[in-house]
């Protein structure tokens, strides 16, 4: 079968995804838009009434917003490290899932920084970050690193999209509005697949794959340093850089598996995304679970064993006020993937997806337990008559904005899948359908 013929068959298979949106799909999009609007209302509420409407106060000055920021930046690792690394290692099985991984990266990279802005008291003065930026401040490092990361990841995704955009442009049977056709034509920038173009594309993709890995590691280390350069007992830790990087990729694999599950169901990709893919990403998740558990253990073991006065105070809070959350995040969140992926009998698509979902929740809580309890146990004792000022609990405004952020993530993901096939069409012809390179049998 010739190249064009095989991709025509594939394009015919994926075209409906772009051409129509079913009633259920429309309902889903309406629901998401509704939640996003609720988020915007909460933002309006906060901007008009001041930060007093949040649960943050003078002791716990950072709350759920910062947790969401770290969380979304973390899942952006799905694309950067997973698709970048798999590309460099020529793992053939990656092909049906890398598009999803890259979409996760871009979308979460756009949402993550939004959350840090919600935490800023004077949004109107945001330009000061550029006008009066000081390179000595880790926040400036963050601004530079994140903007570089967004740029690099968009470029990486675009390079991967290029061949599909050209195919969609040349596919006459596609029944989509004219603006979409025009968009494909412009975005394909005249790519026709000549040998010279192919070589150039391959070279640039290789370079960008390496770059996004490096940039992503830097971005997440910088993010960790925002915490570890301070003197706070729970944050002032040398392993925070690598710890955050591992936690980030870990949560990224979790989100990737959940995304694979839903898109497989909704767009009927059972033929392309098989148990093999779940097991393989699951194995990556298992390795990361072990690393994450190891880092978490050594972080808290040294604090507890050495038991400096302030560390002791922090550990006491973690194991008293936050006991169940701590167990859920740092025990269950590590053990479940180890067990589910580790035992053959448990290794089903449904089980792996449930484990991945638990990982996502656990990793969000892990960040919460890093941010909030530390701020509740400062060097000087909190002597406060108002309970809300001593203990943090998020308000409806913060929860609405969190829900809005998650909904926006799902919405952009859904819309992106309506623009471009969620599976890299141009690569699939090389994909052997039988389970050849599965990591665990």
């Amino acid at each position: 079968m010739s190249d064009t013929a095989s991709s025509k068959i594939l394009l015919r298979e994926f075209a409906p995804q772009i051409e129509h949106t079913g009633t259920l799909g429309k309902l889903w999009i309406t629901f998401l838009v509704g939640v996003v609007l609720l988020g915007f209302f909460a933002l309006y509420w906060q901007v008009s009434r001041g930060h007093i409407v949040t649960g943050m106060r003078d002791n716990v000055v950072w709350g759920v917003y910062i947790v969401n920021f770290i969380f979304f930046m973390g899942i952006s690792y799905a694309g950067a490290l997973i698709s970048g690394a798999l590309h460099l290692f020529h793992a053939e099985w990656r092909k049906p899932i890398i598009r999803m991984a890259e979409f996760i990266t871009i979308i979460s990279l756009l949402i993550g920084p939004g959350f840090i802005m919600m935490c800023i008291g004077r949004l109107d003065r945001l330009p000061n970050l550029i006008l009066f930026g000081r390179i000595q401040s880790p926040i400036t490092w963050d601004v530079i690193a994140i903007s570089t990361d967004i740029f690099g990841c968009i470029l990486f995704l675009y390079l991967a999209l290029l061949r599909d955009l050209a195919k969609l442009r040349d596919f006459d049977e596609l029944k989509v509005p004219n603006w979409k056709k025009k968009m494909y034509k412009i975005l394909a920038i005249g790519y026709t697949g000549t040998p010279e173009q192919q070589l150039r594309l391959k070279k640039s993709t290789d370079i960008m794959a390496g770059m996004v890995i490096a940039i992503a590691i830097i971005v997440y280390s910088v993010l960790a340093w925002i915490f570890s350069v301070t003197l706070q007992p729970g944050w002032h830790s040398t392993i925070f850089g690598p710890y955050f990087v591992i936690a980030a990729v870990y949560s990224g694999t979790g989100v990737l598996i959940v995304a694979m599950y839903f898109f497989r169901k909704v767009y009927h990709l059972e033929e392309h995304i098989t148990l093999k893919h779940f097991v393989n990403v699951g194995v990556i998740m298992l390795v990361l679970a072990a690393f994450f558990g190891y880092f978490t253990f050594s972080e808290y073991l040294t604090k507890w064993y050495g038991s400096e006065k302030n560390d002791e105070q922090l550990i006491a809070i973690l194991f008293k006020d936050y006991y169940s959350l701590f167990i859920l995040s740092n025990y269950i969140g590590v053990l479940v993937p180890l067990i589910v992926v580790g035992f053959k009998k448990l290794r089903t698509i449904n089980n792996i997806t449930i484990a991945a979902f638990i990982v996502i929740i656990a990793l969000w809580l892990n960040r919460y337990l890093i941010v909030v309890p530390t701020l509740e146990s400062p060097y000087l004792p909190i002597q406060e008559s108002r309970d809300a000022w001593a203990h943090y609990s998020a308000t409806w405004v913060e929860w609405s904005l969190t829900a809005g952020g998650v909904a926006l993530f799902c919405l952009l993901f859904t819309l992106a899948s309506k623009m471009i096939p969620i599976v890299q069409v141009s690569d699939l012809k090389e994909e052997p359908k039988e389970a050849g390179d599965i990591y665990l049998r």
Binding site: R122, L126, F132, P138, S385
Partner: protein, 320 residues
Amino acid sequence: MENKKKDDNNSRRNFLKLGLLAGAGTVATGALIATGKNSGESGEKIKVLTTSGEVMEVDKNFLTLAPVGRVESHEGIPGRKFVMVIDLAKCKNARKCVEECQKGHNLPKDQEFMKVYLMQDSEKTAPYWFPKPCYHCDNPQCVSVCPVGATYKRSDGIVLIDNERCIGCKFCMTGCPYSTRVFSWKAEEAYESDQPYSPEKSVPGVEGTVSKCDFCPDLAREGKLPYCASACPMGVIYFGDIDEDVVTNGTETFKFSELIRDRSGYKYLDNLGTRPNVYYLPPVDRQFPFERGLDGLDEEVTKRFENTPYVKNLKNKETL
């Protein structure tokens, strides 16, 4: 002995002169404003230069110094290096420092630049009252982490905040290990003021930004002590110049180095490497029994100490 006393007096005079000199400097540049706000004449006349070039005599009470602007406030007061000494032996939680500071900085009731803690280092050690201003560290974490340079260290040792530039990211609040900084969580009536903003006064406050104790450089320019120091009925708080080696609480003046040497002065949590400019004198030979600090407090303030081990113990004993 007599020599030493003479030294002390000299230094004090020098310190108080500082304000007048600063005043004279600004008269020449025409930064004094005559206002009708202050009632009653002091009888002391000061010569000022009007904009038209005429020399005029105005009563001292009708003059106030124009607040230092945002740009000028980056420079410290020349030749100064401010220091504070807090005598824990004399503090009985009278809370006048807190109140006067709030009044002076036009703060809403739930914002305090000066806080008084009930401290007890460990179970068997004696409790003591612990007033805590900003330490104006020589290695300030808050200044290091600020992304926009809204908080800065001056040549006179003072760490200030420019509330017109602060973006409210609160990084400095997590950076400060002494929980010194406060955030303006909402628009307050107290912030509605027609006086021009000056970082040296921290007035008027700005919603969505961070503020803190500023060592009152506006008062230092006038040769006055910070609000907390002059308000304290016990004379707990000494303020002065570390280079001139003198500190005063308004009634007593000491050579700073001798006071620290003779009374074993120390800095709180100095091991963190922040190099504070506030020194404490340990609570030995106390002038008041500690418990007196718990009497006559507002209900709100009493509640603050309810969860401290000391007060809990006290309650247990009462019920027995």
